[in-house]
């Protein structure tokens, strides 16, 4: 019964672990919810969510699970009774639980039994919750009914109300990829070497031994600069047009690159559809804030790691227009020649079927290492950037 609540939460995208769920059950057993549904709401939310962005999702699931109960007080009792009735865990449920968590059924049972055991010594206050062993703890929900005092209980109503208000709707991020994971991927771009730091804060053991030896054993402590990341990054991002739908993903990438930090240098420029004569310094592609592509090629050395971000889908004319000037393709080839470490990240899955728009993607894929902007893609891309060429 409650197990289905656990699965509903997981189904609806709340990443609740078995460990967390057992903690909730442990809390119930210790009567931390004070035998009220609003208490249960608070207990459950405090344990299973880790961010206010999850609150709305939790509220939604909570409502979904408990909405079947009519709000009419009279009908409530009976339905709630049925709802709280104590199904012993069906064998099928156990197997499902085991399959869902990768633990064997026995593991789960042992873990849970151990939990109960641990608690017995310290907390026998919640007399309603005494179970003889293992799963029968679930069996006692029936008794809790006495504690809930459904008909006149305003607390229950308030939990329902709080969840119903869905006050946390605005914070819901639906961040399928959180920037932390992106940041962690960017972290892998490291090339650490000493020197160049402003402050000598690290004990230099080698130098200390040497100097102390030179002074015939009189201690001379030497310090050195901490080692620093020497990595330089150039990020070129396609903005506007067909990239609009991917804006959020791109800004996530952008922020992560900035936050992961500690690069010796991080340059970010924007282009529209394809790299051309000029690059923009802002994603709004304002003509007032531009920089010449030539300047970038001249001034940023070959030691920069270059990441091109774009869907690589454009009208073929955008890529190779022959109006006397260098085409987008020419510029890209110059980047490729200049920077040995260069990758292309595309926000959408790689196209499977050939059509008008995918032609340029296929052509670019022949020249650049393409990676999808997912966690795996990004990690693989970063590995590629770190390879020695």
């Amino acid at each position: 019964m409650f197990l289905s609540f656990f699965y509903l939460m997981r189904d609806r995208g709340l990443r609740v672990s078995l460990e967390q769920w057992l903690t909730v059950l442990q809390g119930l057993r210790m009567n931390l919810h004070r035998s009220s549904l609003s208490g249960f709401y608070i207990l459950c939310r405090a344990v299973v969510t880790g961010s206010e962005a999850d609150f709305d999702r939790f509220d939604t699931v909570f409502l979904e699970y408990f909405q079947d109960i009519s709000r009419e007080d009279g009908a409530l009792t009976e339905e709630l009774l049925r709802w709280l009735e104590h199904p012993e865990l069906a064998q099928a449920d156990r197997e499902e639980l085991a399959a869902g968590t990768g633990m064997t059924e026995k593991d789960v049972e042992e873990l849970f039994a151990k939990r109960l055991e641990d608690q017995d010594g310290e907390h026998n206050g919640g007399s309603r919750w005494i179970g003889t062993s293992g799963y029968t703890a679930y069996g006692n929900y029936g008794k809790v009914m006495d504690g809930i005092r459904v008909a006149g209980d305003s607390l229950w109503r308030s939990a329902y109300r709080v969840a119903g208000e869905r006050r946390y709707r605005d914070w819901r991020g639906d961040n399928t990829l959180d920037s932390r994971q992106f940041q962690a991927a960017f972290r892998s771009l490291r090339q650490i070497s000493g020197g160049g730091g402003p402050e000598k804060t690290e004990l230099d053991v080698q130098a200390t031994v040497r100097e102390t030896g030179r002074r015939a054993g009189r201690l001379q402590v030497e310090y050195t600069c901490p080692r620093r990341n020497q990595m330089k990054i150039l990020l070129l991002i396609d903005s506007g047009g067909s990239m609009e739908p991917h804006q959020r993903l791109c800004s996530l990438l952008f922020q992560s690159a900035g936050k992961a930090g500690h690069y010796k240098d991080l340059k970010i420029y924007y282009f529209h559809n394809c790299v051309e004569r000029i690059l923009y310094t802002e994603p709004t592609l304002n003509y007032r804030n531009t920089i010449s592509t030539e300047w970038v090629l001249q001034n940023l050395g070959a030691d920069y790691r270059v990441i091109l971000v774009g869907d690589a889908m454009m009208a073929p004319g955008d890529l190779v227009s022959h109006s006397g000037r260098s085409s987008g393709w020419d510029w890209l080839m110059r980047f490729k020649a200049r920077y040995p470490h260069i990758i292309w990240l595309h926000p959408q899955p790689a196209p499977v079927e050939h059509n008008y728009w995918t032609g340029t993607f296929e052509r670019l894929a022949g020249e650049f290492d393409m990676f999808q902007m997912s966690l795996e893609g990004l990690t693989a891309g970063m590995r590629k950037l770190m390879e020695n060429r």
């Binding site: 990443r15 608070i42 405090a46 880790g50 201690l219 402590v221 992961a260």
Partner: protein, 270 residues
Amino acid sequence: MKEFTGSSRYVAAPALLETVNIAIALGKPLLLKGEPGTGKTVLAQAIASSLDLKLLTWNIKSTTKAQDGLYVYDVVQRLYDSQLGTGGVDDVARYVKLGQLGEAFSSQERVVLLIDEIDKADLEFPNDLLWELDRMEFYIPETRRTVRAKHRPIVLITSNAEKELPDAFLRRCVFHYIAFPDRTLMEEIVRVHCPDLEEALLEGALEAFYSLRDTAGIQKRPSTSEMLDWVRALALSGIPAERLQTALPFAGVLLKKNQDLETLRRSRKA
């Protein structure tokens, strides 16, 4: 076990009180998030004083490492001492100094440990503390000693969401988001801090405060702590309540950004 029910100086929403008690009962760290100035740090003091426990505060900075909270082994001091022939150099333990976390674990009685602004630290910082917070113990190789908590400290962790915390860490915490207090709760909070406040002034101040928070374009919205400072300033200067309807005295106490003061001026003119 004693329960936390708020204190004479700290008014908390019921959900927060319950969550605090849940965290204490489950023996898990309580992770607190919320707008700056909603009393995350003060909560730890309130818990400590109302349960009559000692409070240890570990302020996290961008350079803080997990190790610093456990213990620091002062090699250099030991080397110097050995040169000068100071006694006791053989005793490694003399040079191992426990950090706040170490202090909390080795304390003879239960303590409240506040890990303040954990998001200030490096991205990996929370991960480095998983084991220690889970097991409430750590090992010091230098002295071959294991520091194990005799009484699980009540651990409070605050975060301003500057960085996201790792999932593994979040799973081990009980979480609460301190929502901004509504008007009724704010009234109660102000009363607790300034009991002698005139009724009319309090009403006027609350009215002005919430309308200011709703003013469009304000970047750094004033919070509880600023409200309290402002009300104190109003009370001290003896400004009559009626004036609040036409002007906003001491606006600088509420708004800290030049742009915000500018926005306020423009919206007042309009």
